[in-house]
Amino acid sequence: MPGPDKETDLTERIEAFLFDLNRGGSGAGPLRGSAETARETTALLRRITAQARWSSAGDLMEIIRNEGRRMTAAQPSETTVGNMIRRVLKIIREEYARSRGSSEEADQQESLHKLLTSGGVSDENFRQPFAALKPNVIEAINELLTELEGTTDNIAMQALEHIHSNEVIMTIGRSRTVEAFLKDAARKRKFHVIVAECAPFCQGHEMATSLSKAGIETTVITDAAIFAVMSRVNKVIIGTQTVLANGGLRAVNGTHTLALAAKHHSTPLIVCAPMFKLSPQVRRLSFLSDFYRYCEILSKVNVHCPVFDYVPPELITLFISNIGGHAPSYIYRLMSELYHPEDHEL
């Protein structure tokens, strides 16, 4: 029977995805970039929309929220999963509002204006069933997938405006976005790149090899040499794991040092981050407890190996995303366009 088969197929796929996420975090499974994770999450959500049993938008949102909670619990450091879930939830809300015929999509946000003018209890419980909702939502998710596929190219297209001839650019570790960005600029300009190796995983080495294969003059330096070399650098271009709601970053360890050195020398710090990395979380005074991985090599020695750094928004000059360049103080606005406030906590 097609019914139960589809459901078991769906649950199997979700379980496989969760398993992969879990393994990927502990380093045992396939290391995937965040773009792939985002794409796979969105494809899975599209499958859930198509195959799961739901009759109204409210039901679908509940299902997605539940699955979403499980996915984020499987790998909390991979924030793109949560971001994609929130995007899809916002898509569902918009399509529902459109089906109901209400023209005020912007009315969904809390604001002083809304406080004053709302006539009654504005509880949308999304219970009305609409036949056209399913195909509309699936079409919107397809548009989201197309957007995701084009992000790296969109960012790389802006490279020529920011990189000029004979410049010295510094970067850290390995970021696929920055790699594409630099390679695109290298087609028309000649410049020099300095890569900080980013111990202990030393992803900087792979980045340097890849860039030099594209014909870019590259130098690898140790993390300790960042400050010393900074005086000769014109621009710092980095990628990041997550962009936080206050305009700060959660990026690979060593980025905060790089940012402080750049601030000291008044070197502009440019962050290339696609929109799916934007997360509604704000950095709390975390004492870095969520950023650590512990490695015990000797019995009496504990080695603290932080995976990520927090970079405050004051150190960042510009964000380059697939929709253009923005100042860190503008990030809150992009957030309100991508996510609905009620979805901030899944």
Binding site: S111, L112, L116, G119, L285
Partner: protein
């Protein structure tokens, strides 16, 4: 008529000392609206403006002024939808009650957002007596977090001691420090949380005198400076420095009425620019200072 109005306002403040002065002002204005015998919407607006002026004459804080302006805006927006006065008044009364209900929940919303930023073992510095900060700390204590608080004495009215009393009742370890000791104590502190009497368009705040000092010191020590405020405190002012804040907010209402030479008086409030503020916690969400002007634009334009 003026005396009746002021009496009602004072009664509201006395009845519930925990209520924000802006909420009391809005309640008074709503009552005034209900009792108003005017025949035209324009007349209604005029009398409401007069009522707001009376109230600011009684309590010159920024919050009362912003509450009054918000109410006036509320009237204008509603009157645009309904042309007929009696129908309009009915709608206004309904919405007014709803509005009051919503804003009485705002402190709870703020507390819910902010308490997660207080970690176990945190040392918090706060300034003077703020009911919103008290509510946030109450919520954090209810979530079984252990933290300790330093409160500045906040002269000239020693409001900080009131805050310390309230915190002791919650079994929170609290120390009262001199206003001059802010720089001294900041190295021990993990975060600074203050309330606000008004949030201005630039994202800065107007608060009890001494707040600006605290903000400058926390910036120097690299400690996060958080502001907790309800959204009805957003006011359409854009001061560029301390002198730009209008005199009518700086001094108490009685002082303004009686004293001739204001330059001899000590101001009760100061302005903290947005560059010193890390985040603002409001019932509209966690905002960066740059997001505040967006909210105000959405309302007033």
């Amino acid at each position: 008529r003026e005396k009746q109005l002021v009496e009602y306002f004072r009664a509201q403040m006395r009845k519930d000392p925990d209520m924000a002065s802006a909420v009391a002002a809005i309640r008074t204005l709503l009552e005034f609206l209900k009792r108003d015998k005017g025949e035209t919407i324009l007349g209604l607006r005029e009398s409401l403006k007069w009522a707001t002026d009376c109230l600011t004459g009684e309590d010159s804080s920024v919050a009362v002024s912003s509450g009054g302006e918000l109410f006036l805006r509320f009237i204008s927006l509603t009157s645009l939808e309904h042309q007929d006065l009696s129908r309009c008044k009915k709608v206004m009364e309904e919405r007014g009650e709803l509005f009051l209900e919503k804003i009485s929940m705002s402190r709870t919303k703020v507390a819910k957002l902010c308490h997660t930023f207080i970690k176990d073992g945190a040392k918090i510095l706060t300034h003077s007596y703020s009911r919103v900060v008290l509510r946030v700390l109450e919520k954090a204590a209810a979530e079984k977090k252990r933290f300790s608080v330093y409160v500045t004495e906040s002269q000239p009215d020693s409001a900080g001691r009131q805050m310390a009393e309230a915190l002791r009742k919650l079994n929170v370890p609290v120390t009262v420090v001199l206003d001059a000791a802010v720089g001294y104590v900041l190295e021990k502190v993990d975060l600074v949380i203050v309330g606000a009497e008004g949030v201005v368009e630039s994202g800065g705040i107007i608060n009890k005198i001494g707040t600006y000092q605290m903000a400058v010191c926390s910036k120097a020590h690299n400690k996060p400076f958080y502001v907790v405020a309800e959204s009805f405190k957003f006011v359409r002012l854009y001061p560029l420095n301390q002198q730009d804040v209008p005199d009518k907010f700086k001094y108490k209402a009685d002082t303004l009425k009686t004293v001739q030479n204001l330059s001899e008086e000590h101001p009760m409030i100061d302005y903290t620019p947005p560059s010193l503020i890390t985040l603002l916690f409001t019932d509209l969400g966690v905002l960066t200072p740059s997001a505040v002007s967006d909210e105000l634009i959405k309302l007033y334009l």
